[in-house]
Amino acid sequence: MAHNRVMQWAVLARTWWIFDANQQCPFRSAYRITTYLQGLHKPVYHRHGDVGDHVVVFNTKHIAMRGDFWRTYKHFHHTRYAGGFSRASAYRVHEEDPTRILERACHNRLSGLDNRRTLMKRLHLFPDKDIPENILENVSGQIQQVQVVPKKLEDYTQEDIDSFPQLFKMPEDYDIDSYKRENRLEPDQHTSKAWRLK
């Protein structure tokens, strides 16, 4: 049957996937991307069979890291000469090359594989929305995002804010301006040391 022959081509063909890295954790998204790079999502997967796919990742400049990780997460390197050890925190690496952190996360995820170098060649990373057309025309599928993209309060309209149900009611005899502090002529005793020493 002709239909079965086409299905066989589709299984063995290299499909191209796209992934939006906006507001996504690089380590969690690497977990999902590398399954498509290795071909783990296919039923015909085998370690020695070369059934992996291409993945195009864009918006890598806008990835999100957890909590304090921009400052505390480090990339290490050693040149194997004496005194050749160096380290850099994640925000410094991200300044120089905005695709570097996601690339290293995928690279570390594929550790222990013999075909890691060929798999990494099928990963195409772009810092912005701008993707060259010769790559974008191959894409035939989208990978689901790992996390929910949050929305800022500034992005909501006034109608959305007003139409949202109120959770509680203010007490009847409550002074609205009671939180305010008068703008004093002299500096605050908590903020200024000179005032405290007087």
């Binding site: 999100a64 909590g67 921009w70 109120q166 509680f168 009611k169 939180y179």
Partner: protein, 164 residues
């Protein structure tokens, strides 16, 4: 022989059913709406009065189902730093958390709300409230924009909405 004065305080048990905890039982002015104190000065006379504010045309208040009377107790497993429309109701226009006797939030949820608001601020979802500095105060001490602050930040949450 002088005996010490006996002071007895009659404590009335609080009513949590309505969600509004009123600590005061005596009101000097009529209790109708939210008020705002205004001070007007005429020659040799100052008038201090609580002016009623107009009723805002908001949505009707949601029914509180929790037995504690806390508006947040139902969402204690699902409230995240991303629910900005919920969190902004518990803030004063200055960006501070409203006290418990105003909002009716229970102790544990107020403690959680404090942590969630910190996450929401540092992720940049809420506007950056900066207080008006006192006069003659140097603003450079407060304007520390570190290099890593401009990047995006997320926090852990275990709500069902998040797929992972």
């Amino acid at each position: 022989m002088a005996t010490p004065m006996k002071v007895t305080i009659n404590t009335v048990p609080r009513i949590f059913s309505s969600g509004l905890i009123s600590t005061r039982f005596i009101n000097t002015t009529s209790t109708k709406r939210i008020k705002k104190i205004e001070i007007t000065k005429k020659d040799s006379a100052t008038v201090i009065e609580g002016v009623k504010l107009k009723e805002e045309t908001h949505q009707p208040v949601r029914e509180i189902k929790a037995p504690t009377g806390c508006p947040l107790c139902e969402f204690q497993n699902s409230l995240t730093y991303r629910d900005v429309l919920m969190l902004r109701q518990f803030l004063s226009p200055d960006g501070k958390i409203l006290p418990r006797h105003v909002t009716g939030v229970c102790f544990t949820m107020q403690w959680k709300l404090k942590n969630i608001l910190y996450q929401s601020y540092s992720a940049g979802l809420l506007p950056n409230y900066r207080p008006e500095l006192p006069v003659n105060e140097d603003p450079t001490h407060y304007l520390k924009n570190y290099k890593w602050r401009k990047n995006n930040v997320y926090y852990e949450d275990f709500s069902l909405e998040n797929p992972l």
